[in-house]
């Protein structure tokens, strides 16, 4: 683990449960729960994104813009509101 370059504190985040929207870009974690109407759950499920799966947060945009996540080899852009419905347990950083 390379701590000398990080300005944040990665170890403290591990195990933390937070929505995909509020996660930091560069973090990864396992999906705990996807809340919301049937629409969100089934659309994500169609892509294989479901509880227990690991996803990485690639980027976020200013002013509550879309969130870009990666699941396996699939990259998906989600609106901020949709991303807030995905609860993730942080497992670390991927970059």
């Amino acid at each position: 683990m390379n701590k000398s370059n990080s300005s944040k504190k990665p170890i403290e985040s591990m195990g933390k449960r937070i929505s995909l929207a509020r996660m930091r870009a560069g973090q990864k974690g396992n999906i705990i729960k996807i809340s919301g109407g049937c629409g969100v759950v089934s659309r994500l499920e169609a892509l294989g994104i479901r509880e227990g799966r690991e996803i990485k947060k690639i980027s976020e945009q200013w002013m509550r813009g879309p969130v870009l996540l990666q699941h396996g080899n699939t990259q998906l852009a989600l609106g901020f509101g949709l991303a807030s419905k995905v609860l993730v347990e942080i497992t670390g950083e991927y970059r």
Partner: protein, 571 residues
């Protein structure tokens, strides 16, 4: 027997369709390129078989219109119909969701593992034989874009069959996970340059500057190629080769008379003036081939590259926040960009938007605020001599109208707009052959569509003038045209022809000797007031008659308001 091409969005169905049928559907690197199904035919074992390219779907439980079409096509299948399930080899797990659903429906399928070449670069290794044994359907690795493996796919189509694989619906993902574990191995490898570029494109600090640079370069390149072709190729050809020929013809036709004026038009100081002559063989050919075609080519050159590279969905992420102010989401930028080439494919592309409200808003602001390449080329040609700043006023006004109208519609049209939810494809270096083919298809389509309509427009203009109809209409509409818009009353002729073709309409402004300010107002009005007939028919089909009337009402009212304002504001 019919064959359906089914699979997730952006996996190569259309590329395969093109390869197998020799047809020419548009292929791009983003989800949503195919908005309706297309039919073609190919020979399988000596027989002609119908092949259907279907919009992509992730699941047989549709979440949008394109997916609904796919599911309906599947439901409509008959005995003996077969499905080529196109699967992204680099995304096996996600792709198998649809595959297993198809298997459960007892559909006879054959699997095509596309992007096989990319698996090596991504460190992915798939045991195809094992996959075939587990799924119990034939599996063929292919690369649609280069054609590798496609012949093999066709040879094995007859082997397509329903699978005997059974699984519990609740355990579906578990089952998929098992299959993937058994057939796929991934070796770690470093981020490629394209992957790093992809990350940079979406992170705000690097992504926003990149978007600005891309848009700036796009504009510069289109100008450069367009003006270059006009100045060094088209104008010289017309002036040095065609004009002498036309003058000879003019003399042969007696230098006057109805036929002469129709074919050659009016000679200005004894010479052919492509702006003013307005003959079928002079202006009628110059406008589409020398004034507009270079820009159409330049535009599609750049757009096709951006499409195939995969930049557009990332641009959609960058503009999403802005789009929400207009009641849309980021992906709506795609129809807007397409509309800059021709409004018709732009309107058709709004089908990627999920709700009726979004489609109405998108289509309305597109028809009003997004000028097509034909209109743009003529406006730049006409206003350019007064300086690019004047041209900039036209673009600036249309852009402001686009935004303001979008915001207004967002506040007035009932309903909510959903958030963006779109897969972002990897960056791919465009394959030169398919890129050039695509540009060629679009150019051919433009020439086929534009030239006849322009000739028709020139013909009608001549007839209308001869019969005095334009002069009559001018007297009738003079109060509005002269006082509100500040234009000479004859300009109404341009508005009449504008319904047929906008480039001919701009051409009609030339002999009126307008000032720069009047040209600006006329250009903006022509862009906004009403769609050309091609766009009009598409709008009626997409919106239905009632919404089309609403949209048209908005167009006419807003163009009068904006025209009037410009008349007051500009000096």
């Amino acid at each position: 027997m019919r064959i359906l091409l089914m699979g997730n969005p952006n996996v190569g169905k259309s590329a395969i369709f093109n390869r197998l049928t020799g047809a020419n559907v548009i292929v791009s690197n983003y989800a949503g390129t195919t908005v309706e199904f297309t039919k073609g035919s190919l020979k399988v074992a000596g027989q002609n078989v119908e092949l259907i390219d279907v919009p992509g779907t992730y699941t047989l439980d549709p979440t949008n219109k394109a997916e609904q079409i796919a599911v309906e096509m599947l439901k409509g299948r008959k005995e003996g119909d077969v499905v080529i399930n196109v699967v992204e080899a680099t995304n096996l797990e996600r792709s198998l969701n649809l595959t297993l659903q198809l298997i459960k429906q007892n559909v006879p399928i054959i699997l095509a593992l596309n992007f096989w070449d990319e698996t090596k670069h991504k460190g992915i290794s798939i045991d195809v034989e094992k996959l075939e044994n587990i799924l119990k359907v034939p599996c063929v690795p292919i690369c649609a874009v280069t054609g590798e493996g496609v012949k093999h796919l066709v040879e094995r189509i007859e082997e397509a069959k329903p699978s005997s694989l059974e699984y519990d619906e609740k355990e579906k993902w578990h089952e998929i996970g098992n299959i993937v574990d058994k057939v796929q191995t991934i070796t770690h490898r470093h981020h490629t340059l394209l992957e790093r570029l992809s990350d940079a494109s979406v992170r705000p600090l690097t992504g926003l500057p990149m978007a600005v640079i891309v848009l700036f370069l796009t504009f510069k390149l289109i100008r450069f190629v367009g003006e270059g072709l006009i100045g060094y190729v088209c104008k010289p050809v017309f002036e040095n080769l065609w004009s002498p020929l036309m003058l000879k013809l003019s003399y042969f036709l007696g230098s006057a008379g109805f036929i002469h004026d129709l074919v050659i038009g009016h000679l200005v100081k004894g010479q052919i003036d492509y702006g003013q002559s307005f003959g079928l063989l002079t202006t009628g050919l110059f406008v589409p081939l020398a004034a507009v075609l270079p820009y159409v080519f330049a535009f599609y050159l750049v757009l096709s590259f951006l499409e195939d590279f995969g930049y557009l969905p990332r641009l959609a992420i960058m503009v999403d926040t802005l789009m929400h102010r207009l009641g849309l989401h980021g992906l709506a930028i795609v129809p807007m960009l397409l509309g800059l080439g021709c409004n018709v494919p732009g309107v058709l592309a709004t089908r990627i938007l999920e709700t009726r409200r979004e489609r109405f808003i998108a289509v309305t602001i597109l028809s009003i605020g997004v000028p097509c390449a034909a209109l743009q080329a003529m406006v730049v040609g006409l206003l350019g001599r007064y300086g690019m700043a004047k041209v900039g006023i036209v673009y600036g006004t249309l852009f402001i109208v686009w935004i303001v109208l979008g915001v207004l519609l967002n506040h007035t049209v009932k309903g909510k707009s959903p958030e963006i939810f779109v897969e972002i494809p990897p960056y791919r270096i465009p394959y030169l052959r398919s890129l050039s083919k695509k540009i060629w298809i679009r150019m051919k389509w433009f020439i086929k569509e534009a030239v006849p309509f322009v000739l028709l427009g020139v013909l009608i203009v001549n007839i209308l003038y001869t019969l005095g109809i334009i002069q009559f209409a001018a007297k009738f509409t003079a109060p509005v045209v002269t006082r509100v818009l500040g234009l000479p009353s004859e300009a109404v002729g341009a508005l009449i022809i504008g319904f047929l073709r906008k480039d001919v309409a701009v051409g009609m402004l030339i002999p009126l000797g307008l000032t720069a300010k009047q040209l600006i107002i006329a250009s903006v009005i022509l862009a906004m007031y009403f769609p050309c007939v091609a766009t009009f028919t598409t709008l009626v089909k997409e919106l239905g008659f009632v919404d089309m009337l609403k949209s048209a009402g908005i167009m006419i009212v807003s163009s009068l308001i904006v025209g009037g304002l410009l008349n007051i504001i500009l000096i």
